[in-house]
């Protein structure tokens, strides 16, 4: 170890890895991962969320899973829930859409209206 800067570099890299163990005040992306969701391709969607968030160094979002919410025909479904409790439900997702949601909604704060449940119905 030669300098504080070197330590800081390690810290930032390692923090990224253990960051998900802290879930205070974070936005949550909840992906439906029941049988219906998995069959419709929820797993690649979830992985796309995780990868994209990581690639863009977004620290304040956690990706978690949930069971079936009943709208199986709209799977894969994901909710984005902000710390203040505002929920946006996205439906009929694929990895590409997930990446777009990360950039538009989770980074720039603009929900992607055309993917939401309100538009699909």
């Amino acid at each position: 170890m030669k300098s504080l800067a070197e330590l800081e570099a390690i810290r930032e890299r390692a923090l990224k890895e253990i960051n998900l163990r802290d879930n205070t005040g974070k936005t949550r992306v909840v992906v439906g991962m029941a049988t219906c969701g998995i069959a419709a391709g929820a797993r690649p969607v979830m992985n796309a969320f995780v990868e994209e968030l990581n690639k863009r160094n977004v620290q304040n979002v956690n990706v978690t899973m949930t069971g079936c919410i009943g709208a199986c025909r709209l799977e894969p479904i994901a909710d984005v829930i902000t710390p203040d409790g505002v929920k946006t439900t996205y439906v009929k997702l694929d990895p590409e859409k997930a990446r777009k949601i990360v950039v538009e909604h989770l980074i720039n704060g603009r929900p992607v209206k055309e993917y939401t449940i309100g538009e699909a119905e």
Partner: protein, 597 residues
């Protein structure tokens, strides 16, 4: 590799004993089977503190905490939680129906009342991965000290924080460092006392197992402050997990250049070696510990000279306890003002206690100084099992004393505990209920000191043995008038004449039980009666003829055939033959067998 989920499994000694390593293997196997091994990572951590409910498994990002997990539960956890995202509610700790599972845990009284400084990383990071420690601000304090502060400023910071030794005596840490810094010597040493020996205390082990790097970092800071380049950690050989994690941590710290030459590009060099203790209690005493590191028989030596001037190999040395060190990096980073904001006037910060005995939540807790005994037992400890009455709590191990129920509202700090005849000690907290005999407890601790006395000085070697003999005969119903006075006289003399802390404090368990439970001693001596019904020689088992149905179960359970009678008539116990094992009492379904004090 970034994972979407981390599964943290407790790898402390308690949970390891309940097969947490097998759980890890099973989880990994099932995770591979379900092909999510590139999404989910299983990590073993240090102790979460809730040993009673172990093995503990925490899954992030949900923060779901599962308790008493078995190898058989692994499949449900993987297939339900990790694959489908459904929380396994039956295993959840705390409110099983909580909307937000991570909140559920925070609301558990056990965690709600704690302030975790020394235990900040235990159960949060993988202790065998230095980068996880660095991610949690690890080694930043060392970097700050080496690049921005003078040794005097470091000592000043520690002095201002008011930190006192967590090993027992409570000596101000900053002052100790200052003495060693001012002492003249070409070579100085920094030692860490990890020879945790008090019965029931396991906080140092948990810190070493859960966060070994914090001790290494703090020792390097101490080395810089006093001008030492070599450290020694004296750890018990009976702590194999702690030893192996320390070895791993030292190796990693050397690889990262955080131990060794020219740390952070400065002139400062520091390295640490381990020394394993063979399990003698007296080696936790500072001078005996250093004698042992020197390779000699672990016996104390008179002070002065104090170790700060003539310690290890007669060189200026500081010796601090594991928990004391664990506070140092945080104090450096957050400043002494932050630290003094926690605790009482003369005892700053927090203290880790190992709660054990007759308490629901056995485990490890870190509380701010000033928390009362009542809060510890009822809010954090979850009360006494079986609806029994709280009688006393023993703190300070064999050097400490008992705090009776009448003093339950005493705020816990160094000075308050001393004032009521106990001491902080290293943090053992053994809870006793109404079924505990206080004479028997005093005898237990005396037996321990007699066993562990090194034999160098007569007051301890002979005196504690004589005290033990008196206690032994009291519990056997052979106590005599004048025994209490004899105990008191012996206790006073030993306290004032023994060579080291072990002997000087050895009479404390007797003195404190005499102070608060003198009537129990008197009942044993004058009435030949043990009020708690513990001392076997003073007990009698009898069968209530009115309740006895003549089922013969007790007679069949009796190992010495002391019970006789005819089926469907009443049975009786032959007091001559009875060995008072209590088997008949447990066997009787009608409550006919009675224990008479």
């Amino acid at each position: 590799m970034i994972y979407r989920s981390h599964v943290l499994v407790c790898g402390g000694t308690g949970c390891t004993a309940s097969k947490s390593m097998d759980i890890i293997d099973e989880l990994n196997k099932l995770i591979r089977e379900n092909k999510i091994d590139n999404e989910v990572k299983v990590i073993h951590t240090g102790c979460f503190g809730l040993c009673e409910k172990g093995p503990i498994v925490v899954i992030y990002p949900e923060g779901a905490t599962y308790s008493r997990v078995t190898v058989e539960d692994a499949r449900e956890i993987v297939e339900e939680h990790l694959v489908k995202g459904r929380i396994v509610k039956r295993l959840l700790l705390g409110d099983k129906d909580a909307e937000d599972v991570s909140k559920a845990l925070e609301d558990v009284g056990f965690f709600k009342h704690q302030v975790r400084i020394a235990l900040r990383n235990c159960g949060v990071i993988n202790p065998e991965n230095i980068e996880e420690y660095i991610a949690r601000d690890g080694y930043r304090a060392l970097g700050k000290v080496l690049t921005e502060m003078t040794p005097e400023q470091v000592i000043d910071t520690i002095k201002k924080s008011g930190l006192r030794g967590r090993g027992g005596a409570g000596f101000p840490t900053g002052l100790k460092w200052e003495f060693a810094a001012k002492a003249k010597g070409d070579q100085k040493y920094v030692c860490c006392n990890a020879d945790e020996g008090d019965p029931g205390a396991f906080m140092d082990r948990s810190i070493l197992e859960g966060d070994p790097h914090t001790v290494l970092e703090a020792m390097a800071i101490a080395g810089y402050a006093i001008g030492a380049n070599q450290g020694f950690i004296y750890v018990r050989a009976e702590y194999p997990i702690a030893v192996s994690r320390l070895e791993t941590a030292i190796k990693q710290a050397r690889e990262y250049g955080l131990l060794g030459k020219n740390i952070f590009g400065t002139d400062f060099s520091f390295d640490i070696e381990l020394r394993l203790g063979a399990g003698a209690f007296v080696c936790g005493e500072e001078t005996a510990l250093m004698t042992s590191i020197e390779g000699k028989r672990g016996e104390p030596r008179p002070r002065p000279p104090f170790p700060a001037n003539k310690g290890l190999w007669q060189k200026p040395t500081i010796l601090n306890n594991v928990e004391t060190y664990a506070n140092i990096p945080v104090i450096i980073l957050k400043g002494p003002e932050w630290f003094t904001g926690i605790g009482t006037e003369k005892s700053k910060g927090t203290k880790v206690f190992a709660m054990g005995g007759k308490i629901n939540n056995t485990g490890l807790v870190e509380i701010p100084m000033g928390t009362t005994v009542r809060e510890m037992i009822y809010d954090i400890g979850g009360g006494i099992p079986g609806g029994k009455k709280f009688k006393a709590v023993q703190t300070g191990g064999p050097s400490g004393g008992c705090i009776p129920a009448s003093l339950m509202d005493t705020p816990i700090d160094y000075d308050n505990l001393l004032a009521i005849g106990s001491m902080m000690g290293s943090g053992g907290f053994i809870v006793m209920d109404e079924d505990t005999c206080m004479v028997d407890i005093a005898k237990f601790f005396l037996e321990f000191t007699v066993d562990e006395s090194c034999g160098k000085c007569p007051p301890c070697r002979i005196g504690t043995k004589r005290m033990y003999e008196i206690l032994d005969r009291i519990t056997k119903g052979q106590g005599q008038d004048g025994d209490i006075e004899k105990l008191e006289l012996l206790a006073r003399n030993i306290c004032s004449s023994a060579l080291c802390g072990l002997g000087q404090t050895a009479p404390n368990p007797i003195l404190s039980t005499l102070r608060y439970f003198r009537d129990e001693y008197e009942a044993h001596i004058y009435e030949k009666r043990c009020p708690a019904g513990v001392c076997k020689d003073l007990l009698r088992y009898v069968i209530d003829e009115d309740k006895c149905k003549g089922c013969s179960l007790c007679a069949r359970k009796c190992p010495v055939n002391a019970i006789s009678g005819e089926v469907k008539k009443t049975y009786r116990i032959d007091a001559e033959k009875c060995i008072k094992c209590g088997a008949c009492l447990e066997a009787c379904k009608f409550g006919a067998v009675k224990k008479m004090a």
